[in-house]
């Protein structure tokens, strides 16, 4: 699916900035921060503003088009893949990698809560860092 189609699917008017940002998220599975997205895009989009990247990601999140991973205390990381999967943040290199969930966790819900989103994340050492050491 193109970024353009993805935006329409989530009821977001596809401006050129929004397309470029969504396109980056869909094609870079690195769970980037706002700043990383801005730095990656600014050369090809010289008029792009950092504020626009922040605003746009907030809009995407509100519309459900991206996930805001609060896995890292320092920065918000974003994921264009909104399907069910878990994340591991490597405490050595800081990379965030996707992990497949093979069994959904059952959570006791007798308090009458209404669950909208479930996040699973892990802290540990990623495969690459393990190989090196």
């Amino acid at each position: 699916m193109t970024a353009y189609e993805h935006l329409l699917k989530y009821d977001i008017k596809p401006s050129s900035q929004r397309i470029v940002i969504m396109d980056y998220l869909l094609n870079n599975r690195t769970h980037p921060t706002s700043n990383e997205i801005y730095n990656a895009l600014k050369d090809d989009n010289p008029t792009l503003s950092k504020t626009t990247v922040y605003n746009t990601l907030k809009l995407f999140e509100e519309k459900g088009a991206v996930l805001n991973l609060s896995i890292d205390e320092k920065n918000a990381h974003f994921d264009g893949d909104t399907s069910d999967h878990a994340h591991l943040i490597c405490t050595q290199c800081g990379k965030i990698v996707d992990m497949e969930i093979t069994m959904a966790p059952k959570v006791c819900n007798d308090m009458g809560c209404e669950i909208h989103q479930t996040h699973i994340y892990m802290k540990g050492i990623c495969g690459e860092c393990k190989k090196v050491n």
Copy 2:
């Protein structure tokens, strides 16, 4: 278990500040922020410094004596209960409530990752807010 014993268990030298902070965490299951802890304690502990609360919580986290919940993008919340359980943050009132996990999630690990901590958190509406509306 007293705060004092809890500290010893995690190999933390029990200074008076550390005891007071750990005691608050063990007896208040509200998942407070650093600031909330500081504000709750400062009247009875007039010389307590905000920096000490931050430093102490970081130490607790490193020693594994508390969990740092990065469930909320704005502030770090701390949990003195390090046993396996999930959290729900209410998108209406902001409260964080404990939830019991009845089935542990199985996460695909064929990349050779080493998992140290697993966090599960949900976003939604808590029971109290549901009752009101």
